[in-house]
């Protein structure tokens, strides 16, 4: 509480805090509270029925599994892209840099339709995969592809500034001390970038769990197989089952919250360990 009474050097603390609280309440807390309250109107039995409905469970597995996989892929390849953009100078770098943001700006439905057109069995990429028996569009792989596209900018844009921050003289010093390239990467670059990488990973993951627009076009939407949880919410709404929809939304909220919290804790723990090791 002491920080409240401590006069801040910057004026306007009361105003900005008031504004922040008001904004968060109006846009985040009140709608979430409404979600919880709607769910609360349903009895325990009904809630457990929704929770253990095999279709709901299957959609959760797909939504969270595909998001995790997509965020992991983005963590790896997003890092490579960010590395390329920060460390090298080459013609067209600015262009590639600008392209990264496209998934941010594109309406998700457009991304979904475009991906489906390319990865369908008669699409440019799909037709080359089909002879190997690999189907992307209308399978869970399609879901991962869509979520990877959606999440990519989050990872790249988080890592870029961190990579810029890596002190080149530290790397040089390590090299003079005989460290190999891999050791430099593992002991110097990775620890500096990890918090940013985790942030990007988390954002890409969170975005993937909630993604609807692009996925429904490429997923095929077969119950038990390629049906994502947000689609199940829409289906419940179409059947005027507001409470059932709220229950699924609430469950997603809880699972996401727990996962985001554990990533945050992991990050804090990692930072502490890093600081301790540095001493």
């Amino acid at each position: 509480m002491s920080s409240f009474r401590q006069p801040s050097i910057l004026p306007g603390f009361g105003l900005t805090l008031g504004f922040s609280v008001f904004f968060l309440c109006a846009l985040v807390l009140i709608p979430l509270a409404a979600l919880v309250m709607k769910t609360a109107t349903m009895g325990w039995d009904d809630f457990l029925n929704v929770l253990f409905d095999p279709r709901v469970l299957a959609s959760f597995r797909l939504s969270f599994g595909a998001s995790l996989l997509a965020a992991t892929l983005n963590g790896i390849f997003g890092f490579v892209i960010a590395w390329t953009l920060v460390r090298y100078d080459f013609p067209g770098r600015k262009l590639i840099d600008a392209l990264i943001d496209m998934p941010f700006a594109l309406p998700t439905a457009v991304s979904g339709i475009a991906l489906t057109a390319v990865f369908a069995e008669n699409g440019w990429i799909g037709e080359h995969l089909a002879p190997f028996g690999i189907k992307v569009a209308y399978t869970w792989i399609g879901v991962v592809v869509a979520l990877t596209l959606i999440g990519l900018p989050f990872v790249v844009r988080s890592i870029q500034p961190a990579l810029v921050e890596v002190q080149r003289d530290l790397e040089d010093a390590a090299e003079t001390l005989g460290a190999g390239r891999f050791t430099i990467f593992r002991r110097i670059i990775l620890p500096t970038v990890t918090p940013a990488l985790l942030t990007g990973f988390t954002m890409a993951f969170a975005r993937g769990v909630g993604e609807y627009g692009s996925v429904i076009f490429i997923a095929g939407n077969l119950p038990m197989k390629t049906e994502i949880a947000p689609l199940l919410i829409v289906i419940k709404l179409e059947q005027f089952d507001y409470v059932g929809a709220a229950a699924i939304g609430f469950l997603m909220l809880v699972i996401s919250f727990v996962m985001l919290l554990s990533i945050n804790l992991l990050q804090t723990w990692g930072r502490r360990r890093h600081v301790a090791a540095g001493r």
């Binding site: 057109a117 038990m224 179409e238 059947q239």
Partner: protein, 358 residues
């Protein structure tokens, strides 16, 4: 109230602007209507609105602007329940308007008797769209479940058209087993009917096992079939199939008429609470009535919906071949019963997929 003079002036100005704006909308010279409809009627109502506006102005001197909203039938119904101010709704199935009545209390329970023909001014049926030359030789319903045939149909949970598809397939198998609809109501045949219903469930389940994609709406399914070239056959609204044939040309796709199919009756209704509040009842009723006029029926036929008027249907006979149909009332006991049994959570459709996954 202690308002500063400048604030008071601003307040009064604002009030007078609002009053003027209010006058503008209730002005006898012009009126707006909102028609909330479903996906495939977009083209039909664009032409129809123009025709109605012209006729209304001739008759009454009043100018009318009709606004259109199109989306999946179910989500449109939900929008109206949640407060979208539709003067009239023109949806894909009676169940959706029933929901507006039951859950939203926005119109009277007798809505379906207020206009002729169950308040469905035009009809359609469910047919097959296949690729040019019909390479998989699809002639009738049983061909859909043959080895190696892949079927495209949308998700009945989200699409009105998909529900018609589903029920058409069910009705076919029921009819094949029973041979005669009258057996459905005869208690003496209860065992046979039960047997036939079980057979129909297997048949419909088999169709969905041949379905690689479930789009959320009818238009999406058409695109999957046509643009993505997924599937050998698309189960579709007749109007949607005819439109696809016109857009793509007969060198790409063909229409196959099954031996028996369902008579789809997309209904229309005036939303009582909205028209009474906005004072638009008279024009809203005239608007829907105009659908039954010769001009309205002609426009429906031009946009590939089957007109109700026999003489106009005959005029477009080439487009609309006669075929044996059944209605949802005679086979499924109406939409509410059909929905509860087949499409509600835990219904037959859910069972099909849960059995398939195990």
């Amino acid at each position: 109230m202690n308002l500063s003079p400048s604030l008071r002036t601003a307040f009064v100005t604002l009030l007078s602007i609002l009053t003027l704006a209010g006058c503008g909308s209730s002005d006898d010279k012009s009126v707006t209507l909102l028609n909330v409809s479903y996906d495939p009627t977009r083209e039909l109502y664009r032409d129809f609105n123009e025709d109605f506006a012209r006729q209304w102005q001739q008759q009454t001197g009043q100018r009318v602007t009709i606004k259109q909203s199109h989306s999946g039938s179910g989500s449109q119904a939900r929008a109206v329940i949640d407060g979208l101010d539709a003067d009239v709704v023109t949806l894909a199935l009676a169940y959706d308007i029933n929901s507006i009545q039951e859950k939203g209390k926005r119109l009277g329970a007798n809505w379906q008797t207020r206009f002729p023909n169950n308040s469905a001014p035009y009809t359609s049926t469910i047919v097959f769209l296949v690729r040019k030359g019909n390479p998989k030789q699809i002639r009738d319903w049983p061909d859909l479940v043959r080895e190696g045939v892949s079927v495209v149909t949308p998700n009945p949970k989200t699409s009105g058209g998909a529900r018609w598809n589903y029920l058409a397939a069910w009705g076919y198998e029921l009819h094949r087993q029973l041979g005669d609809w009258s057996k459905l109501d005869d208690p003496a045949n209860a065992a046979q009917v039960e047997e036939a219903q079980a057979s129909a469930e297997r048949f419909v389940g088999e169709i969905y096992r041949h379905t690689p994609v479930l789009d959320s709406g009818a238009r999406g399914a058409t695109n999957t079939f046509v643009q993505r070239e997924i599937g050998d056959v698309l189960i579709a609204w007749e109007n949607e199939a005819l439109l696809a044939l016109k857009e793509l040309g007969p060198d790409k796709v063909e229409i196959v008429i099954p031996s028996i199919t369902i008579l789809a009756e997309p209904p229309v209704a005036v939303v009582d609470t909205v028209v009474d509040r906005r004072g638009t009842r008279q024009i809203a009723e005239a608007y829907l009535q105009h659908l039954y006029s010769d001009a309205g029926q002609e426009l429906a036929a031009k946009h590939y919906f089957r007109p109700r008027k026999p003489e106009i249907l005959a005029k477009y006979g080439e487009l609309f071949p006669t075929l044996p149909t059944f209605t949802i009332d005679e086979v499924f006991g109406g939409w509410s019963a059909a929905h509860a049994k087949h499409f509600a959570d835990g219904g037959v459709f859910d069972r099909i997929y849960q059995a398939g996954a195990q």
